[in-house]
């Protein structure tokens, strides 16, 4: 069967479980004798704990123990508690010393029979500190700029130079230079980080909310200094993560440590306010863009200098400048990354890490340049279309961006956009249209899967993947089903548990390219074995028919390609051959295609806004995204995912900001009332669609990943629409009422 480029929009396999409340998330799991853990957090940002008074806590009925650095189990693998080349390995706070590196750092865990007892107990712990001066985050803390040793994706250079920037600037007749700033943000998945941990002898089991079951298993095992096989990680359902559950953060170690200390199962669920610090954040950025062109609008020089922040004990650096290197054709280009160290929790990937703030800056600058040239922003982009990747100097495995521009512009009605800003005025309402190019690299990690063809013709897939909420569990059944031409309901999936073959993290849009490829390859291998069975079976109509001449067709039938009448059902074939299942396990990884090609998903996003000049209110009235991301396995879940990404962009453009009290680095809005994310009324007309794109190079599944591409270019599309509405360029996110009002009053 030929692969469908736009796969069937079937319902989620776990939709009914989620809609009825029967889906059990990690914090919903109980265990007899289980204790509840509640964390005590630091209230200073830099210093040393000089005393922890737990006397009042320990007197409370139900309180069993308080774990602090004074009594926490020592970790045999503590020397591994450092940054590595793996972006998800971070330096953790594991109660092994008395140091405080950031405000809201976990410093103790109260363990009690009930949640109420543990919560009260945590409130009674008294901590005394020796306080050190605080290193502030951006925008103020700029005393010591340093160059990061590496970016999270190890292949990305920290700084790049191409051609001769000075020569390009010298030859140019038009030039813009602008600085764009984005704030610190927190992921705030709706499900708080949660886990239940228990020991049976030296074996540890954890029901943990993680985006990476296999990575979590490895990290926990190495820090405890025990074999991986002794750690079992289960994630049946995952309530979002957006990057903050990709890294194994401190609580994932602290909970089994506590379980060891008290000899009982322990469940820990983070409180919302505890999710602002210890489980990562998106770094604030300050980015300066220089673009220069000739009068024909061809880019002659591009410079992108990014300043980001990290913690004072770790090295994660937001890679804001990487897309600028490859998105447009430009021979002369400089990009640099610098960071400052602050007393904050370490940043971590947050949905489109680097790309989201970086492309906000780039695509805003592109819009500014087009405006200065008096060119249509879409025409300006087309004039600088990159036919091959100018950074890697390699061809694209596929690139359908022109088609995204064309179809997106047509559906949106881009041609109706007047060139002049402030043209669409109706009283105090200003309407504007903007656009942005969106892009996300195809990432792929090693991943494995088992596929088993059962004698009844149904398929079983086993893979240790988690479903972040993206639809992974659904589309894995579709990938296997399509290889055999059977309906997806003939496929059962066993996943969400480290007892199954090790799989990749669900992050960086790599789950389907990695685990989907493993399932695809394992299914093909099983099909191949099944064809070989027919070839060797003298009773089969396909006896002696070459493997290449046999195809699987609808309804679980094998038939001869050159003579479709000849064939039989798979069940008959297996029945004659001992009724044994046919199975294969494949460990799937990238080949040398990465050396030969640049592989990326592309898209174009169009936004319309309405700005109330009197109230300063911005409303995104229309959002449309067109995406080319290789094969789309399930049109329904894929559309939901890109729309979700676009909602994230509305959030980043207009709402989100983690506000620090700069005296103490304490987050002032560590709750969902004051940390703003869009609610239903913030999202009006929104749609996204996919361009058919066949790519046999990119990976066996033929997919490029769609987790982040909805966010990337959409932020600038909204900001550019606000410029078109108001005639004013907002370069500091989020674009809130106060900023728009200050414009009106000028």
């Amino acid at each position: 069967m030929a692969k469908k480029l736009l796969g069937d929009p079937i319902n989620r396999v776990d939709g009914a479980l989620k809609a009825t409340g029967r889906a059990r998330y990690s914090g919903d799991i109980k265990r007899p004798g289980m204790l509840h853990g509640v964390l005590v957090m630091s209230t200073v940002a830099n210093g040393k704990i000089t005393a922890i008074d737990t006397a009042a806590t320990l007197k409370l009925p139900g309180v069993v123990n308080v774990m602090t650095h004074l009594n926490a189990p020592k970790l045999a693998g503590i020397d591994k508690n450092k940054a590595s080349e793996i972006a998800t390995d971070r330096v953790l706070q594991l109660f092994q010393d008395d140091l405080v590196h950031y405000n809201n750092q976990p410093i103790a865990m109260v363990l009690a029979d009930t949640l109420e007892q543990a919560t009260e107990g945590a409130s009674l712990v008294r901590v005394t500190y020796q306080i050190q001066p605080v290193k502030q985050p951006l925008p103020t803390g700029k005393a010591d700029l340093a160059t990061p040793k590496q970016l999270p994706r190890i292949d990305d250079q920290v700084d790049t130079k191409r051609g001769d920037l000075a020569a390009g600037l010298g030859a140019a007749t038009q030039r813009i230079e602008a600085t764009y700033t984005t704030p610190t943000m927190n992921h705030n998945a709706l499900e708080p980080h949660a886990l239940l941990a228990f020991w049976e002898g030296d074996k540890l089991t954890m029901y943990n909310a993680t985006q990476g079951i296999s990575g979590c298993q490895k990290r926990v095992a190495e820090l405890f200094g025990m074999p991986k096989e002794n750690v079992r990680v289960i994630t049946q359902f995952l309530g979002g993560g957006f990057g903050s559950k990709g890294t194994t953060f401190s609580h994932v170690l602290l909970t089994p440590m506590a379980a060891k200390l008290v000899g009982k199962p322990v469940r820990l669920v983070l409180k919302r306010e505890q999710m602002f610090g210890m489980v990562g954040n998106r770094s604030a950025t300050e980015q300066t863009l220089t673009l220069a062109t000739g009068n024909d609008g061809k880019l002659l020089a591009t410079a992108h200098h990014s300043l980001v922040q990290t913690s004072d004990f770790d090295d994660f650096a937001e890679p804001a400048g990487t897309i600028t290197r490859m998105l447009y054709a430009c021979s002369n280009l400089d990009t640099t990354h610098k960071f400052i160290r602050a007393n904050i929790g370490t940043p971590t990937p947050m949905r489109a890490p680097g790309e989201a703030p970086g492309v906000f800056a780039l695509e805003s600058a592109i819009d500014e340049m087009a405006a200065q040239l008096k060119m249509d922003p879409l025409a300006f982009r087309l004039a600088n279309y990159a036919e091959k990747d100018p950074n890697k100097d390699k061809p694209f495995s596929s690139k359908s961006l022109r088609e995204c521009y064309r179809q997106g512009a047509e559906r949106f009605g881009w041609s109706k956009r007047p060139a002049e800003p402030r043209s669409l005025k109706n009283g105090h309402y200003l309407r504007g249209m903007g656009m942005g190019t969106t892009v996300y690299p195809m990432n792929r990690a090693e991943s494995s899967a088992l596929v088993r063809l059962k004698p009844d013709g149904t398929l079983q897939v086993e893979t240790g993947t988690q479903d972040l909420g993206t639809g992974t569990f659904t589309i894995m059944t579709q990938i296997a089903a399509e290889v055999f031409g059977v309906s997806p309901d003939q496929v059962t999936l066993s996943a969400g548990d480290s007892i199954y073959p090790a799989s990749s993290v669900s992050g960086g849009s790599r789950c389907t390219s990695s685990t989907g490829s493993a399932v695809e390859q394992a299914a093909r291998e099983v099909l191949k074995k099944t064809k070989q069975l027919a070839f060797k079976d003298s009773k089969s109509p396909l006896f002696n028919v070459a493997e290449a001449d046999i195809v699987a067709e609808k309804g679980g039938r094998l038939q001869q390609k050159s003579n479709p009448k000849i064939g039989e059902s798979i069940t008959n074939l297996l029945k004659r051959n001992g009724n044994n299942p046919v199975e294969a396990t494949v460990q799937s990884k990238q080949g040398d295609e990465k050396e030969k090609y640049s592989m990326n998903a592309f898209g174009a996003v169009f936004a319309e806004v309405e700005v109330d000049e009197l109230l300063g209110e911005v409303r995104v009235t229309r959002l449309l995204g067109s995406f080319a991301a290789g094969r789309i396995v399930n049109l329904k879940t894929a559309r939901s995912q890109v729309l979700g990404g676009m909602v994230w962009a509305v959030s980043m453009a207009l709402h989100e900001k983690t506000a620090f009290d700069m005296r103490t680095n304490r987050v002032m809005n560590a709750n969902l009332a004051e940390y703003h994310v869009p609610v239903n009324a913030d999202i009006r007309e929104i749609d996204g669609f996919f361009i058919e794109e066949a790519d046999d190079i990119v990976n066996p599944a033929g997919v490029k990943g769609i987790g982040e591409i909805g966010v990337v270019g959409t932020v600038a599309a909204i900001a550019n629409a606000i410029y078109h509405a108001t005639g004013h360029r907002f370069r500091d996110l989020p674009i809130t009422v106060d900023k728009v009002l200050s414009l009106a009053s000028r």
Binding site: G15, Y25, G27, G240, G471, G644, N671, N680, A681, I686
Partner: protein
Amino acid sequence: MIPAEPAVDATQKQAITLKVNKKTYRLDAEPRETLLDVLRERLDLTGSKKGCDHGQCGACTVHVDGRTANACLLLAVMQQGREITTIEGLAPAGKTNGQEQLHPLQAAFVKHDGLQCGYCTPGQIMSGVAVLRDGHADSPADIREWMSGNICRCGAYAGIVAAIESVKKGDTIG
């Protein structure tokens, strides 16, 4: 003059009776236990989710005497004598063709993909049922406004509105 409240020991257990999903539960609860924690930790009704514990996200939305409420903001001891409905009590009991039955809005959420991770979904559906029942689903704009007490961080809002609209049009709400 307001009489002085008698002092209550928050940890002193009281025998209470709760009526949840038409079932009667008798248990000893501390006055400080929230309805949400009692549902989740004591009655094993974990469909109602805790996203913020501050009444800000809506994931714990239940119906109390037919009105929506954030279960995290209610004390369980104060809910005696009230009819509490959680996501587990929305669908008719029993199975059809071996499948659990769904409330029309639950089915619509699945069909219109009004969810991704599913963590906010029970709360969204409980609010959606109330929005339909109370006549606030006349237009997409109405639905968006009345559904704005439930945060969906995955951004499934378009599907949520489509699901509620479809039930409104089908007029099959119970």
